[in-house]
Every structure is written in C-alpha cells, then in structure tokens.
C-alpha cells in the first residue's frame, strides 16, 4: 500500500514543479493472488468424497486453491490516472494453454467472478460459469473516468469431469491459465 503514499506525493511534486509539462497518463496495475509467486490451483479428485460422482458430468472446486481464494484465484487491478486518463476502457482477459491431455481439455475448467454454487451432478455448468478456452476471453471491461479505479475479483474455478475422462498419471496433468490486463 506504499504507492498510496508515494503516488500522491509524486503527483503533487510534478504538478508544482512542472505545471506546464503535465499530460494525462494512466498507469495500469495487475496483481494475482496478492503477488504471490508460483500460484497454483489443484484439482485432485482423489481427495473428493464425491468421486466417482453419482452422475456425470460433475463439477469440483479445487482441492487446493490459492492463498487468497480457496475456490480459485484472487485478482486485483488498478488504473491510476495522473492529470486525467489516457484510456477509455481497461480490459481483463483470460485464457488457458495447452489442453491438459488428449481427453481432458481446457474447456472443462470453468470460471466465474459472480458468486454462485456448483452445478448439480448430471447437469452442465450454466452462466455465470464460463469455460476456459485456448483463446482470450474477456472477464471484465472497466470504463475509465477521471478517477482512479480499483477492482478486485474473487474468480472461483471448477473442473467438470466428463464421462470419457480417463485416469491421469499419478503426478497429474497440467495447464496454465493466463491473465492479461490492458487499456485502450
């Protein structure tokens, strides 16, 4: 939170010292899991009492979430406007790559930033649950006004087990979720 102190001081400093040189800039900031390194989500169905499920497909929360969200990922974004804004909107996007295996694909991992419950066994996840894809999907569009912006997202995630999913190696299979933040 030190930038809450440093930034206003810098703004005051430059406004006073260089009033004729000011121009609007927007600084964008992205933080995942409070900046923790090596962020990892684990879906270990062997730890679930509901595996095998009574019906398929069946969805599972992570058996191990991140440090800041036991059900998924915690994302913070900021847009700090100095002397006005230089962008109209900020965009938060998500994708996954590669598919974890031949039979388990990225679109079996769903995300939501709207608090909701797990789908019942035997039913497909419905919105707000959204499947990850190999291409960028938009999570949120943030209109930028003159004021600085702060948004936090508790992005819950679930894994949808399908009837044709085969056992993984004991060490498991992996993919990577990518998150990007930019302004235009």
């Amino acid at each position: 939170m030190r930038y809450k102190i440093i930034l206003p001081l810098l703004i005051v400093f430059f406004t006073v010292c260089f009033p004729h040189k000011v121009q609007a800039i927007s600084i964008i900031i992205l933080s995942v899991d409070k900046g923790n390194s090596n962020v990892e989500l684990t879906f270990d169905l062997g730890n679930s009492p509901d595996f095998p499920p009574p019906q398929l497909p069946a969805c599972y929360y992570p058996s191990q979430g991140t440090q800041t969200n036991s059900k998924g990922i915690y994302i913070e974004v900021r847009v700090i406007n100095i002397f006005g804004q230089s962008i109209s909107n900020a965009y938060l996007d998500i994708k996954a790559y590669p598919n974890p295996s031949a039979s388990v694909t990225c679109d079996q991992i769903y995300w939501t930033i709207t608090p909701t419950t797990l789908p019942s066994p035997g039913t497909e996840p419905q919105p707000p649950w959204t499947p990850l894809s190999l291409n960028w999907d938009n999570v949120d569009i943030i209109p930028i006004g003159r004021r600085s912006i702060y948004r936090e997202y508790y992005m819950d995630m679930c894994f949808k087990l399908e009837s044709d999913d085969e056992p993984t190696p004991p060490s498991g299979i992996e993919t990577t979720i990518y998150i990007r933040f930019y302004g235009l």
Binding site: R2, Y3, L30, P52, P100, S163, E166, G172, Y178, I179
Partner: protein, 181 residues
Amino acid sequence: MKKWLIPVIIGVWAVSLNAGLSFGIAPGATLNDSVRVHIVIPSIIGLYVSTDSVVFDFNVYVSNGTYPPSSFPAYYDPTTGTAENPNGVGVRVFSNSPTYTWHLETWGSGDFSTTVTLDQLEYSPRGAATWSSFSTTQTEIATGGKTGGWANNDQDYRFRAEADDEPVDAGVYIYYRLYAN
C-alpha cells in the same frame, strides 16, 4: 516520453516490485500473469446397488388368482421392486480405466427356510430373461473395461414356486461385489 515520467515510473516500479505487482502505462502496455493448474484423476471403480427391498408377496398372487398355479414349478415376478427397477434391483458400475478389467459378482446369504431354498430365487440382466439361480457362492455376472460413466447392470429377479413350498415369511440378503484387475 516526457522526462518527468521517469521518476513516476521508477517510483511505481519500486512499489510494484515490493508488492508483487506488474504495472505499465496505458495505452500500450499489456500486463500478463499466470496460474498453473494441476489436475489429478485417479483410476477408480464404483458400484451402486439400490437399497430398497425386493418383495415377493404371495398374498397378492392369491388375491389375483395366480397362486397356487395349475402346475409346478411356476415363476413369479416381484410384487415390489426398487425405485430403479420394478422387477428387481438397480445395479450400476463405474470404471474410468482403459486398462483394468472389472468383474461384478453376486451371491446370496442362504435359504429362506428348510423348504424354500435360495436357488428358487433367480436373476437375469434386466430384460434379457436369461435366468440363473442364486447360490451362496460368488458368481460373476458381468465384466468389462472403461464404462464411460455409470454403466447399467440392473438385475431382474423372479421366484420359482415349487410344490413342496411351505408357508414362510423370511428374507435373504443378496450381495454384489465389484473388483478390477
């Protein structure tokens, strides 16, 4: 870039490093972060058997005139089945392994009475009418590989009434066992 931006950027950069943040000037900058996802699906088999009782109430057959029969032996369907199968029990098998073979076995706990024996109770895959008598010995009734969800292995029951059956009000337990190798 304006010279006065440099200390601003350096300041934010220093704070960002300390807080594990990434930052940039927009438009132009695209910030990226990533999360590793680890998925473990164990090899597993599952067995579901309906827990309701299957009842052969011959009072019903007496009432509708079908018992006693004109000749013995005579065969009767359950008067009460289970929620999954009105003529017997619901049996479902789950296996997600493409390499292991599962085996489903069944057996009974013993005779109903001295005159009404366990082998008078017969089973068949649902709707197949290929009847076998229950015994106290474990008998394989189905086998297979990856099921692709829960595979239906429902079993129909029927009772074989014989001429020497004496009145009885008794039950037996029917067991199912699933294993893979």
